[in-house]
Structures are given as structure tokens and as C-alpha cells.
């Protein structure tokens, strides 16, 4: 049975990490899924929403409701944005004219690793050398959506990858979107502790489902120097399983 899905790329991936988004779409396509990328998509609206600017967030969110009209799953390569679309949209649109539309849209949203594992049950052929990988499950993946297990399951399908989680794995990396700008000192302290825990794993690559966390941790590790490569899970898996023909 052929699958057709929408892909919501997220604004962060769109502007800073498009390779992660493209890798995710290629993974889906290789698994036999027809992937639609609506050019009308922009941002989920979370930055304004978490800063208290709900009217501004709602205007942006409404544009996303418009951009994904058909009754198809919306696959999102970020647990944070998926959480916004799936969990927060119904709250954001409650008691508005778009409430029913937002509820229906929210129910179609799936985080990428969750989709690859639960819906597609993908098989991955690991072509890379043995490697130790540190996984950072985002707070949204772990707590808001509960998809951290799916991410671990997915990465576990790579035969030659040894997965490790840093000490205090469940603790936030300190990104928090606007938090990292409004409370930069606390954010930096949290990121520094997380970066040290990642370094202590001795992993060659840091992998996660959220580019916000990875941007925060990659930036911090980069400043410390000598840390692991930082990869979005889609890009990491694509690189490990893709054969250039």
C-alpha cells in the first residue's frame, strides 16, 4: 500500500540545516513514500507563541493550516515543531473559528522517527564503519510527544552503531528557543554541562531529532573544540545507509 505524506521542513532546517530536511525526505522516498513538500509552508509559529505573542503566532499557524489542506499525515523532522503543531495548535486555536480545522490538522502530525518506526517499520542497512554515537533526545521528544523510544529504536536498527546517552540524559540542553536569548547565562550554563557530558561519552557523532538542541550543543561543542560531529538523525541515517549509484 503506497503512502503519501506531507513534509513540514521547519524554518530552522529550511534556513540553516536543509541537508537534514532533504535527507529526511529521501529516507521517506526510499521507503516507498510519496513525499509532498508544500511551498506555502513557513514556520510553525512557536517562537512567537512561547514569547507570549499569541495573535502573531496564530496568524502564522493559520498559514500552515492553509498549506497542508489534504487529509494526509504531516511528517516533521523536529519533535519541538511537531509538538507545537500537534499539541499546542489545538490550544492556540481553541474557541476560534479555526478550532475544528486545527484539531484535525494536529491529529495528522507525526514526528519523523516515530513515523519511520511505528508506521513504516523501516529496515536500515548500515553501510558505515563501527561507530559510537551519543543521542540527545529533546525535551519535546521525551516529554511532550513521547517519541524518544522510537528514536532510539530507529537508530538501533543501524547494525554497527553503538548508542550511548550522556549522563543526565533527560535533562534539557538549555536551548528553549527564546529562552536562550532572554536568559543567555542560564542557557549557556545548561549547554556547557550537557556538552561536557557528551564529550565524556567519547562518541564520534552527536545525533538528535531537534536542530534547535543540535545548534545549541554543536555551537557550544564547537567553542570547546575537539568534540563529536553533530548530525540530525535523518542526515546521519541517510549518510550511513545511502549508496551512491
Amino acid at each position: 500500500m503506497p503512502h503519501t505524506v506531507y513534509f513540514f521542513g521547519t524554518c530552522l532546517i529550511d534556513t540553516l540545516f536543509p541537508r537534514a530536511g532533504l535527507a529526511a525526505m529521501q529516507l521517506l522516498r526510499r521507503a516507498g513514500v510519496r513525499v509532498i513538500f508544500p511551498q506555502g509552508q513557513t514556520c510553525c509559529g512557536q517562537p512567537a507563541y512561547n514569547s507570549g505573542y499569541r495573535d502573531e503566532a496564530r496568524a502564522v499557524a493559520r498559514a500552515q493550516l492553509d498549506a497542508f489542506p489534504a487529509d494526509l499525515p504531516v511528517v516533521v523532522p523536529s519533535a519541538s515543531c511537531a509538538g507545537m503543531l500537534r499539541v499546542q495548535y489545538p490550544l492556540l486555536f481553541a474557541d476560534t473559528a479555526d478550532a475544528a480545522r486545527a484539531d484535525a490538522f494536529a491529529a495528522r502530525v507525526v514526528e519523523l522517527s516515530d513515523y519511520l518506526v511505528r508506521v513504516l517499520d523501516v529496515r536500515l542497512t548500515d553501510l558505515g564503519p563501527p561507530i559510537r554515537v551519543a543521542v540527545h533526545n529533546s525535551c519535546s521528544a521525551r516529554r511532550e510527544l513521547g517519541v524518544a523510544d522510537a528514536t532510539m529504536d530507529l537508530l538501533g536498527r543501524l547494525a554497527r552503531v553503538e548508542l550511548v546517552e550522556p549522563e543526565r540524559a533527560a535533562e534539557c540542553c538549555g536551548f528553549g528557543g527564546a529562552f536562550s536569548v532572554k536568559q543567555p547565562e542560564i542557557s549557556a550554563a545548561m549547554a556547557a554541562d550537557k556538552a561536557r557530558a557528551i564529550l565524556a561519552t567519547g562518541a564520534a557523532v552527536l545525533v538528535g531529532q531537534d536542530c534547535g538542541c543540535l545548534m545549541n550543543l554543536g555551537g557550544t561543542l564547537g567553542r570547546l573544540g575537539g568534540g563529536p560531529l553533530v548530525r540530525h538523525l535523518a542526515e546521519f541515517i541517510w549518510e550511513r545507509t545511502h549508496r551512491d549509484d
Binding site: Y6, T42, Y53, K182
Partner: protein, 471 residues
């Protein structure tokens, strides 16, 4: 913008010893809590029950408080209502003056901190003697509690030993925890003698029976409520529960969430003063019900969930921000996640709205809250209230943190992201001009490398790779 809070944050982050002390203690509390709930299913169903009991109490608050007043009065407890902390202080003072007391023994009470009671009494020439070990320590150090159940959590054993050496030079020097506790006990026992008045907080007040429930581990609380002639209990109005049969659920949630104990060493159920023929107990019991802004919180159907709180402190024990800052940096009576939703509402968003920003919304607090307060959701709501232009809202200081520049930026951002063509044009432009991207973007780049703009957006790459635009 360097506010007082930001300065306090900077100072707190520089205190490695304090941070180490707090983290060690938090780790212990987190582990104990985890071990106290070995069965996740039982834990989750208990949390459901706890949330329902507390939600019921909050929903029925006015009628339950009236019932509590009736049943307490029937039990011989004298009930007083206080609108503000200052009112409550005056009530305490009146009771103490009438009893001829020039000192009062205090069991642990965060509401008394909210009232600023110790300072107030001191100004009236009345000595307030803390009896909880943690409270004794910080009273000696002239500090405020840095945690709602472990007020001296920021101090290590060596600091406490030094403090005791300084204040109790006549006592044999103590180093080990047991010795320090024994020393405090020796000193405190003497103080209990001949005291006329004692004060306590209240963990739960049962409307149905007029019973005040108090948990503690040191026995000092029971001494405060039974030894003196007069017992004054102070509570926030939200601590009422409907029925006695709801207390066991809340008790087990409270003690397991707070310290990982199946039950505290002492559980006190106070149902009135000494009755004829009884050999001990106070001859008068007073209950002071403090509002101090809680009615205002109650008026908002969503934010009123704040009032479910049973003060277990699990949220702060699991909070990554509290772990870095400790309690003092917040500069409020209630720190951590619960403080960050409660204080902006009690004191107003203009005064304390910044606390709601000091969260990455990671959700660790809501995951452990025994009464399922959706703390991240309420933080988000308070951020909205802080910048909202809505005409009416019960939240104090709503709209007070709206800045013209900031709201202008969000409006512009919103317009761009609500217009896909404009968004694509802008991202295209950013890609083309990426070489002009500054390498320094404070505060981000103060501690991190800056991410680099991609030359081609995913929108363009998806189209180039043949991914269709529509179904």
C-alpha cells in the same frame, strides 16, 4: 536589559560550591522520589487521583472555606481571615499580645515567609524562634529559605558546622550530621521550655471535619503545636480539601514526591484545643486563612490550577534552571517552577513577570507534579498575559511587559511567516547574502559558534529534487 534578577542570576552562576551543594541534594531527592514510586502505573493513577482531589478543592474553594470555618469553629478553633500578609501579621500580633507572649516557637511555614512574619515580630520586640533544623540554620545565617522543603539545601555540612561553632561556642564541636543534629536538639530543647505560643503552617485543612494536617520529620512541629498554651496555624486559603478520606492520597503523594518517604516520621491531625479532661495540648488554637492574591488567581479558570499545589517541591528538585540558580537568585519566597508561576501572579507581572521567562519549557516539572499542574502551559499563559493587549484579565499587571520595539518585531515576523511568498523571498535573500552574516551574534555567540545560513533553502532544494508541491 540588566534587571535585578539577571544580576542575581549572574552572581548565582558564579557560586560553584553552592551549585554543587544544591545539585548533590537534588540528586538525592530525585533518586528517593523515583525509588518511592516503584510502580509507574500506581504512580500515575495516584497522580490522577491527587489532581482530581485538588482540582475539586480549587473549584469549590469559596464553599469549602466557609465549611472549614464552620467545622473548625465547632471544634473550638478560632478562625481568622487575612486579606494580605500584613493583615495576617497583625492578627498574630494581636493573639500574642493577648496571651502576653514575648516570643513564639515556629514550626516550618512558607506562608509565614510570605507574610514576612519573623521580621515583623522582631520590629514589635517579639522573638520568633525557628525550630525546624533547616530553618534554624538559615535563621542563624540571616538568610531566607532557598528551597520550600529544604530551606538550607544550599549549605553543606562544613558550613553548618562552622555556623554552629560560631553561635553555640559552649557546646562540644560537631562535625558529622548526627552530631550537628544532636547539638541542635540540645540547644532547641531548652528553648521549648516555658514558651507561651507556637506557630505552624498547614499541609491540608479538611473542610468536612475541621482538621488541620501537618507533616514533619523532626518532632519540632508537634512540640510547637502541643507544648505552648496557644497554637497559631497559618495557611494559604488554597490548602483546604473537601473530605477526610481524600487526605491519605494527598499525604502519600506529598511525602513520596517531596522526600521519597512512604510517610513522614510525624503526621499531626489537629482537631481543636485541649478538651476537658485532656492532659496536654494548647488551650487555644487559632487558624489564620491568608488570601494574599490567591482569590485573584482563583478567578482565572486556567491559571487557578496554580492553586492545586501541595508544596512538595518535586518541581524544583527536577528543574534544570533551579539546579543552576538555587533558590535565592529568584529573590522570592517561592523559587523554581512553582515559584515561577505563583510569584508573577501573587506580586504581579510587572514585578515578577521575568520569572516566567526563566524556563526552557522543558517540562521536567510537569512530569513529576503530583497534582498534575501543567506548569509549562501556565508559564506560556503568563508570558501571554505579560504582553497581552486584552482589555480585561484577572492577572495582576497584565500587558505590563509589552514593549513597542519587541511587539513591532513580532508583528513583522508574523507578517512575513504568514505570507509564504514574502517568506521565500526573504530566505532566498538571506541565502544569497550569507557571506555578510556576522560571526558575532551576542548573546548567542558569547558561548557558542554561530550557525551558518545555508546557500539554498530546503524549499528550493525540495523543488530541485522533484518533490511535489501539492497532493
Amino acid at each position: 536589559m540588566t534587571t535585578e534578577f539577571r544580576l542575581a542570576i549572574g552572581a548565582a552562576l558564579g557560586q560553584d560550591r553552592v551549585r554543587g551543594n544544591i545539585r548533590r541534594a537534588m540528586d538525592g531527592l530525585v533518586t528517593k522520589r523515583r525509588e518511592a514510586f516503584p510502580d509507574p502505573q500506581e504512580r500515575e493513577s495516584l497522580r490522577d487521583e491527587g489532581a482530581a482531589i485538588r482540582a475539586e478543592a480549587v473549584a469549590r474553594l469559596p464553599e469549602l472555606l466557609e465549611e472549614l470555618e464552620r467545622t473548625c469553629t465547632g471544634n473550638g478553633i478560632q478562625v481568622h481571615w487575612a486579606e494580605t500578609g500584613a493583615d495576617a501579621n497583625q492578627i498574630v500580633l494581636g493573639i500574642l499580645r493577648a496571651a502576653g507572649a514575648n516570643a513564639i516557637l515556629k514550626g516550618k511555614s512558607m506562608v509565614s515567609e510570605e507574610m514576612g512574619l519573623n521580621e515583623f515580630l522582631q520590629g514589635q520586640g517579639i522573638e520568633a524562634l525557628e525550630t525546624d533544623l533547616g530553618e534554624i540554620i538559615i535563621q542563624l545565617a540571616h538568610e531566607a529559605p532557598s528551597h520550600i522543603i529544604a530551606p538550607a539545601i544550599h549549605k553543606d555540612r562544613a558550613e553548618v558546622a562552622a555556623l554552629f561553632r560560631k553561635h553555640f561556642p559552649d557546646q562540644p564541636p560537631a562535625q558529622q550530621i548526627e552530631e550537628l543534629t544532636a547539638l541542635a536538639r540540645t540547644v532547641m530543647r531548652e528553648r521549648f521550655r516555658g514558651m507561651t505560643a507556637g506557630l505552624s503552617g498547614v499541609n491540608f485543612a479538611v473542610a468536612e471535619t475541621g482538621t488541620l494536617c501537618l507533616v514533619e520529620n523532626e518532632g519540632n512541629g508537634r512540640l510547637c503545636t502541643t507544648l505552648p498554651d496557644v497554637h497559631i496555624a497559618v495557611m494559604g486559603i488554597e490548602k483546604v480539601v473537601a473530605r477526610l478520606d481524600q487526605v491519605p492520597t494527598l499525604l502519600t503523594l506529598l511525602t513520596r514526591s517531596a522526600t521519597g518517604q512512604p510517610i513522614t516520621t510525624y503526621v499531626n491531625m489537629i482537631s481543636g484545643p485541649r478538651r476537658a479532661g485532656e492532659k496536654d495540648g494548647p488551650t487555644a488554637v487559632h487558624l489564620i486563612l491568608l488570601d494574599n492574591g490567591r482569590s485573584r488567581i482563583h478567578a482565572d479558570p486556567e491559571l487557578s490550577a496554580t492553586l492545586r499545589c501541595i508544596r512538595c517541591a518535586a518541581c524544583m528538585n527536577h528543574c534544570p534552571v533551579y539546579a543552576r540558580l538555587g533558590g535565592h537568585a529568584y529573590g522570592t519566597v517561592y523559587p523554581g517552577p512553582i515559584g515561577s508561576i505563583l510569584e508573577p501572579q501573587l506580586q504581579g507581572l510587572a514585578e515578577r513577570g521575568e520569572m516566567a521567562d526563566a524556563s526552557s519549557l522543558c517540562g521536567a516539572c510537569a512530569e513529576v507534579c503530583p497534582v498534575r499542574i501543567p506548569i509549562p502551559r501556565l508559564l506560556n499563559r503568563l508570558r501571554y498575559e505579560a504582553v497581552s493587549t486584552r482589555a480585561a484579565s484577572p492577572t495582576l499587571g497584565h500587558g505590563s511587559r509589552r514593549l513597542a520595539v519587541q511587539s513591532g518585531i513580532w508583528r513583522l515576523w508574523s507578517w512575513v511567516c504568514a505570507h509564504p511568498r514574502a517568506y521565500r523571498a526573504l530566505t532566498r535573500l538571506l541565502g544569497l547574502l550569507r557571506r555578510l552574516q556576522p560571526t558575532r551574534l551576542p548573546p548567542w555567540t558569547d558561548t557558542r559558534e554561530a550557525p551558518r545560513l545555508a546557500p539554498e533553502s530546503l524549499h528550493r532544494q525540495a523543488r530541485a529534487a522533484g518533490f511535489p508541491d501539492r497532493a
